[in-house]
Symmetry: C2
Subunit: 188 residues, 2 copies
Amino acid sequence: MRPNKRDELVRKALQVFYQDGFHATGMDKLVVETGVSKTSMYKHFRTKEELILAALRLRDENFRNWFLRRIEELADTPADQLIASFDALGEWFEGDGFRGCMFIKAGAEFQDKTHPIHVQAAEHKRLLLEYFTDLARRAGASVPEALACQILLLKEGAIVTAVLLKSCDPAREAKAAAKVLLEAALLN
Amino acid sequence: MRPNKRDELVRKALQVFYQDGFHATGMDKLVVETGVSKTSMYKHFRTKEELILAALRLRDENFRNWFLRRIEELADTPADQLIASFDALGEWFEGDGFRGCMFIKAGAEFQDKTHPIHVQAAEHKRLLLEYFTDLARRAGASVPEALACQILLLKEGAIVTAVLLKSCDPAREAKAAAKVLLEAALLN
DNA sequence: CCAAAGGTTTACTGATCGGTACATGTTGTG
DNA sequence: CACAACATGTACCGATCAGTAAACCTTTGG
């Protein structure tokens, strides 16, 4: 049971869960996809839930790493970075494998607010809100928490809309809205 | 097979699907909940997918009816109605059975963009966007489509955030943001 | 070289999945 | 009342669900 074997299983599971959904993906399918046997799979993860949680952890790490790094590449000042985050989102939407936000989907499939999977999905959003709040504060917003929440609303709305309504270019509209909101938050 | 029997089945199925999700809800469970036999169920709906589509149609009707009516109760002018829509959303979020947007969940569980269920979920969002566009035009926005899309982004983001992050009062922040965006859209 | 230890595989469990064949009412019409 | 037409319920289908027992390598320590 070398340590990277487990990581490889998580990586593959993440792909499949992201593509097909959690309930719609059976352990048998994952066993076939990974080439490992079922017993081995259950040696690494005691339950399907544990595997899902591991996949979500990896997704959180991957996504936040990419998102924050990309934002820093695109802009220098906190204010510009808040706006540039929507350019990063736009790139994500245009990417090949884009299938929406895995944590929104996790929260949708496991609706009980006390369920570990739901809790972990919420934690991801909380971390993003925290990041936006930090940017808003450093940008000089009068009420950083308020601006950060508004930016987050635009981001989540853009993701959902990118999945369901390709017609209205969510990333562009969200960016335009964010500019207006940022300016208003700096004036007061 | 009196016509209201089918409606009753759809109504009950809607409840269960909304509470528990689509893949997580088996036909056997629906059969038990409705008290009807399995054969009868499959006489009314040839497949589970057909039942889901019927439930989504009912949901679309119920939700849009309630939402539009409530908005009209809360405000008189198109501009005020755009803003008041977030008060209506807030009431929805605070309601007992609130479990997020059924169409976001449908789009999340059936991700294939050509899948009938995904298509129908998208249609619901399109109708809402159309409604917002009409309000924005009558409110005098310089680019009604742009304002409507931004309002929609805030709405979708607020719903998602209401599910996953109770901490930041999404309805209130979305409303505040909408006011700023509306004002900006009227100026230009 | 042997033997213990631990990872891997095969084959299986009972439960549940969506869906159906067939027997049993129930109802409208002569 | 008789009979056709149709709705309903019972009992079942093969497939798949998450999860496991026990045989089978494969590696490590002596």
